[in-house]
Symmetry: C2
Subunit: 220 residues, 2 copies
Amino acid sequence: MIDSSNDFAFFTHDDLLKMDKLQRSNFVNCLSGYKSANLVGTTDGRIENLAVISSVVHIGANPPFLGMVLRPHTVPRHTLENIKQTGQYTINAIDASWYEKAHQTAARYPKEVSEFDAVALTPWYSQGLIAPYVCESKIKIGLQVAEITPIHCNNTQLVVGKIDEVYVDAHAIAEDGMLDLPVMDIACISGLDTYHRPQMLARLSYAKPDTPTKRLSANS
Amino acid sequence: MIDSSNDFAFFTHDDLLKMDKLQRSNFVNCLSGYKSANLVGTTDGRIENLAVISSVVHIGANPPFLGMVLRPHTVPRHTLENIKQTGQYTINAIDASWYEKAHQTAARYPKEVSEFDAVALTPWYSQGLIAPYVCESKIKIGLQVAEITPIHCNNTQLVVGKIDEVYVDAHAIAEDGMLDLPVMDIACISGLDTYHRPQMLARLSYAKPDTPTKRLSANS
């Protein structure tokens, strides 16, 4: 670590490789900024599995696809096995009223233990899917696997799912399709273990070259 | 849209396909939860390019990799062309003091216009990279392309970069490597156009099967 001017600290690739494991993991996991906070629900047909995940990413709206990055050989390993076996999973938004339970699903429970039971969250089933939803979640998304794409550089996998069904708090949907995440008190994550509650700064107008950005609505 | 019990609205895959384009885009872009707010800096060697992106995702810490999802045939199309040409790009965290300038980079400027000039942000160059950083950004990450992986289901691309260098506000780095994103006033995004400022709920202890989750530090 080399202090540069302007109060910036500078790190090279080699500096990052030389950090101790936990320090590097904390540091690099913070670099991308705030991350979505979701629980992935799966089953092998017998035992329900629930895993906190912060790598869900928007892939496309038409048709609707979501992606998530999973590492095959670490937690949530049962998640990937179950997804490959059944082709189905759920993504459930974590909110500020039960984020501590959600975080606890990251513990390495034995495969025969359901994280729903271990952390006292409630499995809920729709008629269309065999994967369990988290009843407490205000945004429940049911997905069918569309593709599992290997990321070669570090042997992780991008799991892409087609959105099959969505259950969402009806009070949080605007006429134009926007969801009011603060109304649902949805949480977000930084690093490996820090949870946050966002407050809206503003909704901005569609950006056009000849027009300055306008605030369509704002808190302050 | 079918109202179910418990104040939940229910949407099938077909319901989403039948929405009008903007409504579906707003809705699906909100489903993944809060998204990181970053600017991607690139150059073709002549014109600097800057594009707001909300799909940056953590790929791995050791070695350090970040991913982002780009669509080849829409904005930020110059970004992908430049990345393929030079093999380099920067990721720059957007904060609450200049998020409106960052959003304005999404306008469809002609290729000969630098978004730095158009929105009045300052290009800054390190000695190691030809891609421009955003001087105003408190987390500046320089990357070399590691792989560009096609996502077949909708013809998007996952661009994975090896982190080559990092410049970060020295006041925001903890001993254990954690970055304090709220101290830097880093923003996040919901949907296509809504910006938020997160406040910390708590940092939680490493989850273990036999121990309840503890708050290591908290705001309230």
